[in-house]
Structures are given as structure tokens and as C-alpha cells.
């Protein structure tokens, strides 16, 4: 049976060689990006920590109350949740995590929404983008960590990059879906009234697709939040690191506290972004 052995294609070796070549060739650029992103994440964290914690909690609750069109229950629950995080001495870690999530989401949106628009409007772009998205979504999240470390070393930046890659697919997919689902009559309306392509996109397609795109943004934030925990394995700071520590030391209490803080942040972000979707209150 084993007389003939199928020669193995050296796929792993090839990928490794490519990553190495890439790293060497673009070393300067990669360093630049790394420093820039580090600076950005740090800035974001500093910004989040600039206010005294109690003031932040009150302001955040009021802000949530305003943007959710006076959802008093949500605002109150948020205040209690944030207070709990503060009380558990996890505040600065939580803000670090939040900074990572917000930065990663921001980049995922900056890349994802235009990509989605492009893919929705051009069949060719869609054909190119789809397999890439499939790849990004089904490849186990841990695998992204390896090239991220190779390119950017350990720390927040590779964690954030891996998070962007992991969290972007839903934004692209739901942007495509939202725009493709715009009723034919509405695109006909735009054409019949003599819109330019740009007017059609800005005045008809994007606003009509907005609820779906918002769902994509919501998904993106949720996935980013789950990924920053995994990213702790390559040195990303924040609550993920606390959880990882809990696992490594088999410290149930520590793991639970870190996990709970993440859940609180997740629920607040989820409810707030959901309530931002147009048509939510109708």
C-alpha cells in the first residue's frame, strides 16, 4: 500500500519563505507602520484615561442616554457595569482594551466599507473580494497571529492588525449585501431623475443600505472585542491579558473578573451600536 508516496507540495515552506522575504524587503515600511499604529493606540488609550474615572462613567452614561434617544435603562445599566469594572481595579486595562477595539474597528471600517461599496457595484471586484473574505473568516484566528508577530513583533500593534483582519469581513459582506438589497425601483428612481453615480451612491444606495451596514459595524465591534482577547497571546495589553493570566495560573477568580469586564464592555457597545441603526425605534 505504501509503496508510492505522493510528493508533498512544500506549501508551508513557500509561505514561510514569502513572509520572510516580505519582512526583509519592507522592513522600513513595516517599522513605520508599526510605530505609527503604536502611537495611535497609545493616543487613544491616553484620551480614554484623561478624565478621572467617576467623571468618565457619568459622562459615558449621559452620552449613551442621549445617543440611544433616552434609553434610561441602558444608561443606568451601563453606569453600574462601568462602576463594577472600576471597583474590580480593571479600569485602565479596560480602557486599553477599548482603545484597541476602537482603533481596530476604525481601521476595519476605513478599509471595509469602501471595499464593500466597490464589490457591490462591480461584479469583478465582488468575484475577487469574496474568496479573500472566505479565507479571512474561516482561517482559524490564531493563524493570523503568526505573520502579525513576524512583521510587527510582539505587543499591541500585531494584536490590532490581527484584529482588523479578523473583524473586517462582516463589514464588507454586510455593506455589499445592503447595497445589493436596495430595491430595483429605488436605483431606477435615481437613474430616472438623472443622478450622477456619486449622487446615486450618497443619496440613495448608502442611506437605504444603512441599517444593514450598521449591523455589519455592530458585528465588527463584537468580533474585534473577541479577538483582542486572543491577541493577548502575542502581547496585546488590556483585559485579554488578564484573562490569559488567569488561564496560565489556573486562577479562576482572575479569569472570571477579566471575562466579566469584557462582557460588560461588549454588551454596552452592542446595545449602543444597535440603537444607532436607522429605523431602530420605528
Amino acid at each position: 500500500m505504501n509503496s508510492f508516496e505522493l510528493p508533498k507540495i512544500p506549501l508551508g515552506d513557500l509561505v514561510e519563505a514569502f513572509v520572510e522575504w516580505f519582512e526583509v524587503t519592507f522592513a522600513v515600511a513595516l517599522d513605520g507602520i508599526s510605530e505609527g499604529l503604536d502611537w495611535f493606540i497609545d493616543g487613544m488609550r491616553t484620551l480614554l484615561l484623561v478624565l478621572p474615572t467617576p467623571v468618565f462613567i457619568v459622562l459615558a452614561s449621559v452620552l449613551i442616554w442621549v445617543v440611544t434617544k433616552r434609553d434610561t435603562r441602558l444608561a443606568a445599566c451601563s453606569a453600574i457595569g462601568l462602576f463594577l469594572i472600576w471597583d474590580l481595579h480593571l479600569w485602565s486595562l479596560a480602557m486599553e482594551t477599548l482603545a484597541l477595539v476602537l482603533t481596530a474597528t476604525l481601521f476595519a471600517l476605513i478599509i471595509g466599507i469602501p471595499t464593500g461599496i466597490l464589490a457591490a457595484r462591480s461584479g469583478t471586484a465582488h468575484k475577487l473580494v469574496r474568496p479573500v473574505l472566505d479565507f479571512m473568516q474561516t482561517m482559524p484566528a490564531f493563524v493570523y497571529l503568526i505573520p502579525a508577530v513576524v512583521f510587527f513583533g510582539l505587543g499591541n500593534v500585531p494584536g490590532m492588525i490581527a484584529t482588523v483582519v479578523f473583524a473586517m469581513p462582516p463589514v464588507v459582506r454586510l455593506t455589499v449585501l445592503g447595497i445589493r438589497q436596495v430595491p430595483v425601483e429605488l436605483t431606477e428612481l435615481a437613474d430616472a431623475f438623472g443622478t450622477t453615480e456619486r449622487q446615486k451612491l450618497v443619496k440613495v444606495q448608502l442611506p437605504v443600505a444603512m441599517p444593514t451596514i450598521m449591523a455589519g459595524i455592530n458585528q465588527c465591534i463584537m468580533m474585534a472585542l473577541s479577538m483582542v482577547v486572543i491577541a493577548a497571546m502575542i502581547g496585546a495589553q488590556g483585559l485579554g491579558y488578564t484573562v490569559l493570566e488567569g488561564i496560565q495560573r489556573l486562577d479562576i477568580g482572575l479569569g472570571f473578573e477579566g471575562g466579566l469586564a469584557i462582557v460588560i464592555i461588549a454588551i454596552i457597545l452592542d446595545r449602543v451600536t444597535q440603537s444607532l441603526a436607522p429605523g431602530h425605534n420605528e
Binding site: E185, L186, E188, T196, K203, P207, V208, G279
Partner: protein, 406 residues
């Protein structure tokens, strides 16, 4: 038809639309007269429109009617080029839209062509006034100006007070008023209405039809109205084009379509229509022959009646102006009394009607009078005569096409 609307606004010349990847293969086949089904089988191409030609006059309501799949919506969309025709031309005010570049086409769509959609196509994220102002906004009109104009148009369609409402909060009829106002706001010459009232309840629908006719009285737009509903077509259309399998089977006034269907298909389509609503006095009257010159004597009157086997005769003056009616009975009496003039025996209070009175309104008149009804025009000239027999005869012929073969 009025004589002043003879200028063609839209001319469509041998228009073809083939859906599929190789439309070129299908056109020659269609030219040979191969059927839609066979073209589909032989080339895999779907025939949307085949050799459509007609012109639409300025200021008329032109109805394109047909069952679903007959190509009526495709034809409408070829006018503003939402669908690109495979072959043939569409001229608007003498300009072939295919000859325009993108900017030129956009300009025509913005200024000349308004469109109303079957399912309203309101933008869900905009309130009524923002929806109505959409076209003006696209044209780049400053906000104050376009909102003011939108407000006027909203008032025109009877929606004043709803400017701030969201589309979700409106009923179907109100939504379509918004759709109509949006199309009217940029004051286009041509309104393209795609099954505009088909999604509405019957009562609202009738109301909207009446209102469209009212608006049309003031605005005198050129309206191209697509519908699958014959009653709607007959009610709104100055002229109707009836479509089947992508071809126009007949173009004509509602009355022409009903009384002289071009083929079996049209005949079967119009069978069962309530003819009394559509036929007019003009369509059922007999020509007024013979008539009696007013200066004739009773013996002439008797002789004419005798020759034509009738018992009454209309007397006319100069230019066929109706003067009155002479009955055989009175003429005999007058002849015996040796009268030389019929003026003394004229009956002048017989019923008269105008040529465009619907037959439905004539029924009562004809039923209650013992005299024939004179059809006179605006100058009181005798145009025709309606007697009970001719009325019933016309209805019997026109109303029972489907029973002839039984």
C-alpha cells in the same frame, strides 16, 4: 381629439429590445416574423420588444396596455433609457436620446422626463418634502428654493400638512401622491407612469385617476401611462397602445379599440367591457339622412319619410342647424289643411345631446322620449340621430364579440 395637439412629442421608430447575451442573432429572425417563443428556442434570447413604432402627441395621455410580460414596462423604460434598446430610435422633441452623451442624457432625464413608479419608490430615510425635492436636489437647486417648490407641488397633489411625515406613516394613496409630486416638482414635459395606480385599493385608485385627469386639465403634460387594467386605460387614455408579446397590436382611441379591434387578441381583450361607459353618442348615432330643409312643405316631408320608411324627420336650416322635428301624423294633417309650410308643425322641444356624451347617460333619455334624439354640436348643427333601435344595435354588436362563434 383636439386639433391643436398634432405636434408629436415622442416618436418611437422600429424599436427592438432583446434580452440575452447575443441580441444580434435575434433581430433578423424577428424581422422574418419568427415568434417570440421560437426565437427563445433557437437563440436563447428573450424578445422584449419587437418592431414598435408610434408617436405620442404633445399634451395627450397615451396609455400602453398589455398583460404582464407583454413588454409594456420595457417600452416605457426605453423612453428614458433605463433600458437600452437593442435597435431602433426614440425621439423626444426630435432628439434621439441614443445620440446624447452621459451628461446630455442626464440633463434630459432631469428636466424633461418625470417618472412615477408602481411601488412608489419613496426613499424611506426621507420625509415627504425631502422626497418631493429629490429631483431638484439632484439638479443642484439651493435648499430654500427647492423646499419652497416642493411645498407648492405637495399642495397641488393635496398633501399639504404632511410635509414632515415619513413614508412609513402614509397610506398607499398618499404615498403615490408623494411619488406624483416628486415627478411634477421639476416641471418635466413628460410624465412616465409605470402602473402608477396598480398597487392601490380600487376606491383610492379611482380617486387617483380622477385627480390625475384634473391635474392634467391644468398642466397639460404629455403622459405615458402603463397599465394592465383595461378600465383604467379606457378612462385615462386619449389614445391606447395595446401590446402582446413585445409588439404593439393596435394603437387607437379607446373607442377605436373597442369598436374596431385590430385582431382576435384585441377583441378578446376588450370583450366584457361595459360598453355604455366608453361608447359615446357619436359612436352609436346614425347619420342624419334624410333631413328636411326648413323651407319645404308638408308634402315633401311626407314623401321623404315614405321613401325612407320613417315616421319622423328633422328639419334643418342653413348649415344644417337643427330647427325641429316633423312627425308623419302632423305632416298628413298639414297637407290636408293645404298648408304650404312646415314651420307651424315643427316640434322644437325634442331631446338633444352632444357627440361626446357617454351612452350610459343617453339610456334614460332614449328610454323616456317618444322621439329620436338629435345629436348636435356646439353650433347646434345636426350631426346625427339616435333612435332606440340604433342604440341597442350598437351595444349588441360591440358588446358581444365573444358570442359570435357560439
Amino acid at each position: 381629439m383636439n386639433k391643436e395637439m398634432i405636434k408629436p412629442k415622442i416618436i418611437i421608430r422600429s424599436l427592438y429590445k432583446i434580452f440575452g447575451k447575443h441580441p444580434g442573432e435575434a433581430v433578423p429572425l424577428i424581422r422574418e416574423g419568427v415568434s417570440k417563443k421560437e426565437v427563445q428556442e433557437r437563440t436563447g434570447q428573450t424578445v422584449g420588444l419587437r418592431d414598435v413604432s408610434f408617436s405620442i402627441e404633445e399634451g395627450e395621455i397615451f396609455v400602453i396596455m398589455g398583460l404582464s410580460g407583454s413588454g409594456k414596462s420595457t417600452l416605457l423604460r426605453c423612453i428614458n433609457r433605463l433600458i437600452e434598446p437593442t435597435h431602433g430610435e426614440v425621439l423626444i422633441d426630435g432628439t434621439d436620446l441614443a445620440s446624447l452623451d452621459e451628461d446630455g442624457l442626464r440633463e434630459v432625464r432631469r428636466k424633461k422626463l418625470g417618472m412615477v413608479f408602481q411601488n412608489f419608490a419613496l426613499l424611506p430615510h426621507r420625509n415627504v418634502i425631502e422626497n418631493v425635492a429629490f429631483g431638484l436636489e439632484v439638479q443642484g437647486m439651493p435648499e430654500d428654493e427647492r423646499l419652497e417648490k416642493a411645498r407648492q407641488t405637495i399642495r397641488m397633489v393635496g398633501l399639504a400638512g404632511y410635509e414632515g411625515s415619513m413614508p412609513d406613516a402614509l397610506s398607499g394613496g398618499m404615498k403615490q401622491r408623494v411619488g406624483l409630486a416628486r415627478a411634477l416638482a421639476s416641471d418635466p414635459d413628460v410624465l412616465l407612469m409605470d402602473e402608477a395606480f396598480s398597487a392601490l385599493d380600487p376606491i383610492i385608485r379611482t380617486e387617483m385617476q380622477d385627480e390625475l385627469l384634473d391635474l392634467q386639465n391644468d398642466l397639460a403634460k404629455t403622459i405615458v401611462f402603463v397599465t394592465h387594467d383595461l378600465d383604467e386605460a379606457l378612462k385615462l387614455g386619449n389614445r391606447i397602445a395595446l401590446m402582446k408579446d413585445g409588439a404593439v397590436v393596435q394603437v387607437g382611441t379607446p373607442e377605436e379599440i373597442l369598436t374596431a379591434p385590430a385582431d382576435e387578441y384585441v377583441a378578446s381583450f376588450v370583450a366584457g367591457v361595459d360598453m355604455t361607459k366608453v361608447l359615446t353618442a357619436e359612436g352609436v348615432m346614425k347619420s342624419p339622412d334624410p333631413v328636411l330643409p326648413i323651407f319645404s312643405g308638408p308634402r315633401v316631408a311626407l314623401k321623404l319619410m315614405n321613401e325612407h320608411g320613417i315616421s319622423t324627420i328633422f328639419a334643418v336650416g342653413k348649415g344644417k342647424v337643427l330647427r325641429g322635428l316633423v312627425t308623419a301624423e302632423d305632416a298628413v294633417a298639414a297637407a290636408r289643411a293645404k298648408m304650404t309650410n312646415i314651420e307651424d308643425i315643427l316640434i322644437t322641444d325634442t331631446p338633444v345631446t352632444s357627440p361626446d356624451t357617454p351612452v350610459r347617460d343617453l339610456m334614460g333619455l332614449v328610454a323616456t322620449t317618444q322621439y329620436p334624439v338629435a345629436v348636435v354640436d356646439g353650433c347646434h348643427r345636426l350631426r346625427g340621430v339616435i333612435v332606440r333601435g340604433s342604440l341597442l344595435g350598437a351595444l349588441a354588436i360591440n358588446g358581444n364579440n365573444d358570442e359570435e362563434c357560439a
